[in-house]
Amino acid sequence: MQDSTGTDRDVNDQGLTMDAAAAASIMAEASDRARRRLQPNLRAFYAVRGAIWILGYGLIWLAVRGQHPFHGPNAGGYAAVVLISAAAVGLTAGQVQAETGLRGRSVLRRWAYMLSVLAGFCAIFALEGALVHAGASPSVVGIFEASAPILVLGLLCLVRFSAERNWVAAGLGLWMVLVAAVGGYAGPATVWAVGAVAVGLAFLLAAAVEARVRRA
C-alpha cells in the first residue's frame, strides 16, 4: 500500500496508511481526548465552586444580618455550612473519578492538598472552641468563623498553585488571603456577605479567565 508521497514508509502495523495531514489530525484528536479525560476541567471547577461559595456564605449572611446584639448563625446558617461541605466532597469525588488510571506525583500532590484542607478546617474548629472557652464574644467568634476558612484555603491555593505555575489559581489564593485579612473589618454579620461576594465572584472570574486561556 502506498501513500500520497509514493512511498510505503507510512504503512502502519495495522495495514493503514497515514500521511502528514492524517498524523496532524490524530495528534490533535488524541491530545484533546487525553486532556479532557486526565486533566480536571478548571473552568467548571471554578464556576461550581463560585456558585457554592456565594450560596453558602450568602445563606449564612441572610441568617445573621440585622442581629443586635450579634449571636451567630442559627440552624439555617449551619445548614449552609453542611451544604458547602457536601458540595466540596462531591466536587472532590468527581475530580478523583476523572483521574482513574492516573498515578504519580500530581495525584499525590492533589491528595496532599485535600488532606491539608481537612487539617486546616479541623484546626479552625478547634481554635474556635478555644476562643469560646476563653470567653471571646460572639462577634469575635463570628469574624473568626467567616474569615479563617478563607484564609486557610487562600494560603493553600497560593502555595500549591504557585509551585505549579498556575497563576490563575495562585492569584485567586492571594485574593482570598487579602479578603480574609480585611473582610473582618466589615463586622461579624457583613463579613459573610463580603466573603460571598468577594470570593464567590473571584471564582466566577477565574472560570471566565480559564475559558479564555483555553480558547487562546
Binding site: D3, D10, N12, D13, A20, A21, M27, A30, R105
Partner: protein, 109 residues
Amino acid sequence: MSDDELNPVIHTPARLRIMVTLATLRDGDDLSFTGLQDLTGLTPGNLITHLRKLEDAEYVTTNKNGSGVTARTAVAITQEGRSALREYSTVLRELLDSAGMSQNENLPA
C-alpha cells in the same frame, strides 16, 4: 521535505496516539494499561505490541506492580520520548507548512 523525515517509530496511528496521550501526563505521572487502552481505543494485544516497540526505542517505560488480580501495569513516557515527540511535531509542522495545509494550527505544542 518529505514524510521520510518523520520518526518511523512514532509515525503510525497507534503509536502516535499512545505517545500523544502519554505526553499529556506531567513529569512523574504514569497511566494504567487499561486507562491507556481506553484512551487510545486499541485492543490489549495491539497495545502490547506497540508499547514494546516504543519501549525498545526507550520512548516509554512500563512497570508491573503487584500480582494476580491486583496487578497493575503502569505506562509512562520518558524524557527521550518527549524529545522525540517534540521533534516529530516540529517536522510535521514544517511538512504541513510546505504543503500549504492549515492543520498545523491544531497540533498540540
